[in-house]
Amino acid sequence: MKMLGATVVPATSGSKTLKDATNEAIRDWINHPQNTHYIIGSVVGPHPYPDMVARLQSVISKEIKAQLKKHTGKLLPTHVIACVGGGSNAAGAFYHFIKEKKVSLVAVEAAGCGLQSGKSAATTQLGSTGVLHGSKSLLMQTADGQVVEPHSISAGLDYPGIGPLHANLFKTGRASFDSSTDDEAVKAAMNLCKKEGIIPALESAHALAQLNKMKFKKTDRVVVNLSGRGDKDLATYMKFL
């Protein structure tokens, strides 16, 4: 981000994770409303941000359609698999397929050290209805409504909620939700690197790991959204070598 010319300010409040960085961005906006335009990368936050981000990210499913037609001649995939933290890349990858009921949408959350380990970020499995950052959605929280600190090896999935769009896809059953652990994600990343020479982002590696858990037919057209590069995760990957 610095190489691209951005000033990076670390969040030093609360649990110092993505949720706290989001708090700090909102606070900065509150403090400088005259000269600041708030933007957010994920499909969370107050309306209209989740909707705006989903529409902007929808270029992903548009691209999937175009590439699929070019490579297979078919218009629709049978499966679209994407990782979900707040859920921006998944929202974009699902967007133009939501109304196409034949397309199976698979959202993969971060199980962290395991769903029952107390160190997880799988919101649909561990959360309940709540309000955070200005939207009502599913949220990992205590019985008293205090937001729980999540855990995932990937910073981008280390968020205690999911966007309201995904909460709806979950509740209506339009998308199926599963999760990959830290270890499964790292293993999938290493595998992709060996087979294809591509280092995926740790986030995207959660979606890749899902492939091992599903059964496919030879005729299936499966799309895994490789939403990010692993440059930023090299320090983490090196620990596993």
């Binding site: 409040s13 708090n23 606070r27 509150i30 403090n31 309000v131 955070l132 949220l139 409504g145 937001v147």
Partner: protein, 260 residues
């Protein structure tokens, strides 16, 4: 019977002092001690903060007090217990300020019922949108005779200010500048904004809060409104005090000397 909050403004048109304190801070059991000391020292209204893990409208001082109080083990249930303990001794109005999520988990109806039962007069929920209040909760507030108090700021449109005033009861909360709590605001546009507020014909008395730190700030705000709210400066003052009661009184007396 007149709501105690309305009674304060009926009796006293000017210089109403509302002090914000965080429940369960600095110690779990401090809530009652701090509130009674505030009453003794001459505060007119107490705004009691319900601690939350993600208080986005608050600056570092109140954030820290929220975290400390949560570590102390404070919960809404505990706050209502504490308020019940002092119900017969506390005669000045109490307004609860918090964020919507803990309230939703407690249940809005239960929350209003229990708040009213322990003598609370009003509720401030900065992240509760006005239309949601109107649509889902206004009838519950009415049932338990609780005022909902909305916030306006320099960036609030005239229309929205009117709406906030119409939906609020007890008083209207004017944020002194576009900031989180505890931020010292530049006085440039502030006075113009205060003048605009003073000229607006709100149905509710106006209290100005956020960034009011001392006697000078309090008196300045009081020239344009019925009174002011002090939070961060007070929390800062009592956070490291050995004798909390004494620190509370000391602070209030710096704002409002005893002879007054």
């Amino acid at each position: 019977m007149m709501n105690v909050l309305d009674a304060v403004f009926a009796e006293k048109k000017k210089n109403v002092l509302n002090i914000y304190c965080t429940a369960g801070f600095p110690l779990m059991e401090s809530t009652t001690e701090v509130m009674l000391a505030l009453q003794d020292a001459g505060a007119d209204i107490i705004e009691l903060g319900i601690p939350y893990s993600d208080p986005v409208a608050d600056g570092p001082i109140i954030q820290q007090s929220n975290m400390q109080a949560l570590q102390n083990g404070i919960t809404l249930t505990k706050i209502f217990e504490q308020l019940t303990q002092i119900k017969n001794r506390l005669h000045i109005p109490v307004v609860l300020m918090g964020y919507i999520n803990p309230v939703l988990q407690y249940g809005m109806e239960n929350f209003c019922k229990d708040a009213a039962a322990c003598g609370v007069s009003g509720i401030i929920l900065p992240d509760l949108p006005m239309y949601e209040f109107e649509k889902y909760y206004a009838s519950i507030f009415k049932k338990y005779k609780l005022n909902c108090i909305f916030l306006i700021s320099p960036s609030t449109s005239k229309e929205r200010m009117k709406k906030a005033d119409a939906l609020s009861g007890g008083f209207l909360y004017a944020v002194s500048s576009s900031t989180t709590t505890g931020t010292q605001n530049s006085s440039e546009n502030k006075i113009n904004y205060f003048k605009k507020l003073a000229a607006a014909k709100f149905k509710n008395p106006l209290l100005i809060g956020f960034g009011i730190q001392d006697k000078t700030g309090f008196e300045e705000a009081c020239q344009y409104a019925s009174g002011a709210i002090i939070g961060s400066a007070f929390i800062q003052h009592i956070s490291t005090a050995k004798n909390v009661q004494k620190a509370v009184k000391e602070f209030v007396h710096t704002i409002r000397p005893i002879e007054q």
